[in-house]
């Protein structure tokens, strides 16, 4: 893990490693601590301590002395909570749902974002600023409000979209058991496509123009330039957006929670986070902690796994 982390650090900040100052000097230790403490103190208190606390809690169990009505006490339980997580069918179905969601939504969203970024990067297209801003605008909309907006577009009573589709003979049920997952996926796609597009577009803009001229001299068409030159060069940005999307998918909460208010096809344990919250609300904090730790571990494994896989292949 640490190996990958330092590699990311090197990829991310290649400049300063080249520019080490030759003569010593520099600030005293006390000054350095004074610069770091304002961040690291709250970071430790509100990041590291809760993570540690969750891990500790996840190894505890509540037991009762003297039968069902005895007094309860918490004690060391080893991996007991984790055993329960993995035996919980609701946990597996939430993971399955989120997996399906991620496998479809993330590639679709990033592919659309990439196509848009490439189109914006060609001189062919006019009124770029308008396209760019309208695509990025959903980023400023909170997930809850986006889900509320879309839920009105899904609801059969209010939606002009449903009206339109009925006009051409279709009867969609956006909130039905098969469709509601994809209705939630649509909200995420709407929210994040423009943001991802902008990261890729910014990377495209920093490619020096000479590369294209050289490629054109070699007889490469626009298509070849896009796929064989542009995409490989901005690969780190694509990796970054993928990792953020994976993290986002595993954290899914607000959108399905809002859709749950109007659809009976979303259970209170629809996503892993909703399950963790539902379990915590039932006062089983140790079990909720174990679920949270498992979600965090899956996030780590997937993001690092993806970075490692792609960094080997792309030689990053």
């Amino acid at each position: 893990m640490t190996d990958t982390e330092t590699r990311v650090a090197r990829v991310a900040a290649p400049r300063e490693s080249r520019r080490r100052r030759p003569g010593g000097g520099g600030p005293r230790a006390g000054t350095i601590v004074a610069f770091l403490t304002p961040f690291f103190l709250p970071f430790v208190l509100f990041y590291l301590v809760p993570v540690g606390y969750a891990i500790w809690q996840s190894f505890r169990v509540v037991r009762r002395s003297g039968g069902q009505y005895g007094t309860s006490y918490t004690t060391w339980g080893g991996f007991e909570q984790y055993g329960q997580v993995f035996q919980n069918s609701e946990f597996w179905s939430s993971i399955e749902r989120i997996g399906l969601f991620g496998i479809v939504q993330v590639p679709v969203m990033l592919f659309v974002a990439l196509i848009m970024a490439l189109l914006l990067d060609t001189p062919l297209l006019k009124i770029k600023a308008f396209f760019r801003i309208s695509a990025f605008m959903p980023y400023a909309v909170p997930g809850v409000i986006a889900a509320i907006m879309w839920s009105y577009l899904y609801s059969p009573q209010l939606s002009p979209v449903v009206d339109l589709l009925q006009g051409i003979g279709l009867h969609p049920d956006f909130l039905g058991p098969g469709a509601v997952l994809w209705s939630a996926a649509n909200v995420s796609t709407w929210l994040w496509t423009g943001y991802n597009m902008l990261i890729m577009y910014s990377a495209l803009q920093s490619i020096p123009q000479e590369i294209y001229e050289a490629a054109k001299l070699d007889g490469a068409g626009n298509w070849a330039i896009a796929w064989q030159i542009k995409v490989p060069i901005i690969a780190p940005s694509i990796v970054l957006t993928t990792v953020f999307s994976i993290i986002g998918t595993l954290q899914l909460y607000a959108e399905p929670a809002v859709l749950r208010q109007i659809s009976s096809n979303i259970s209170s344990t629809f996503t892993p986070n909703m399950l963790a919250y539902a379990v915590a609300s039932g006062n089983n904090y140790q079990q909720a902690a174990a679920i949270s730790v498992v979600i965090a571990l899956i996030t780590f494994v997937l993001s690092f796994g993806f970075m490692r896989l792609t960094s080997k292949r792309a030689g990053l």
Binding site: G26, P42, Y47, P50, I133, M137, A254, A289, A296
Partner: protein, 268 residues
């Protein structure tokens, strides 16, 4: 080009729908075409929105502003100090600290919220402004960006000459370096502002008192009540519009900043 137009319609449609719906009286919501204006009732809807439950919506909006603006301001300052130190000062353990921060980027914030709730309830912080504000000021991603920006924007020679002139490190940071980093600091501020503004899980876990809610949590609660109180629907719609339009406008006005920020932060 046709594809771009189609996508633009997709991105704009929900907002357009919201604008139209916010101008209608409740009765017209279901009765008229959702994409066409009917009776212009916007001002009356706004009046209802801002006077409902003794003006609680305005309180929520102010709370959101406090959490997001103040949280992002404090967060940007501490991220900038830390990222700058990690980029410009040489010391033992620097790479280790940076790795820990990078690890923090990958911790799902929703996984943090539950243990934070337990810790905060033990210290009596639950159901206070601090319960949402304090965790919000920490942004590992902000430190990560600040380090990249500081490395790129602040030349070593300048620091060298400031040191020779006898300026302290803090003085150098605030009067020289922070100015060179200014556009990127705006970017960090915006990212963190949006992250806090959008955060829903943390306030939901931490707050029971309605008067402390940010606007997202408030609208969520109202939306949940519309089945029993259908008249709330118009307020949810108008409230949604009121809470997103100012942010969208700020974003469009500041796009010069976030664009340069994204460009330099996009890991060339």
């Amino acid at each position: 080009m046709a594809l771009m137009l189609l996508l633009t319609i997709y991105f704009l449609l929900p907002v357009y729908f919201l604008i139209v719906a916010a101008t209608k009286p409740q009765g017209d919501l279901a009765a008229t075409n959702g994409l066409a204006f009917s009776h212009f009732n916007l001002f009356s809807n706004l009046h209802t929105l801002f006077t409902r439950n003794d003006g609680i919506f305005l309180k929520w909006a102010l709370n959101s502003v406090i959490y997001a603006v103040l949280g992002a301001a404090v967060g940007t300052l501490i991220s900038a100090l830390c990222g700058y130190a990690l980029a410009k000062f040489r010391f033992k353990g620097r790479e280790f600290l940076f790795s820990v921060v990078l690890g923090g980027v990958l911790v799902p914030t929703t996984a943090l919220a539950l243990p934070l709730f337990l810790l905060f309830s033990a210290t009596g912080l639950v159901n206070t402004y601090f319960a949402v504000f304090l965790p919000s000021i920490v942004s590992p991603f902000g430190v990560y960006l600040a380090r990249i920006f500081a490395a790129a924007a602040v030349p070593e020679e300048l620091l060298e000459s400031a040191r020779l002139d006898g300026a302290g490190e803090f003085r150098t940071f605030f009067s020289v370096s922070s100015r060179l980093m200014a556009p990127s600091l705006v970017t960090i501020f915006l990212f963190q502002f949006v992250a806090i503004w959008n955060n829903f899980f943390l306030p939901m876990v931490m707050l029971q008192k309605e008067s402390l809610f940010p606007v997202t949590l408030g609208l969520y609660e109202w939306n949940g009540q519309t089945a029993r109180a259908p008249l709330l629907q118009e307020s949810v719609i108008t409230g949604s519009l009121v809470s997103i339009v100012p942010v969208i406008i700020v974003f469009i006005l500041l796009q010069r900043f976030w664009r340069t920020g994204l460009a330099s932060g996009s890991l060339k």
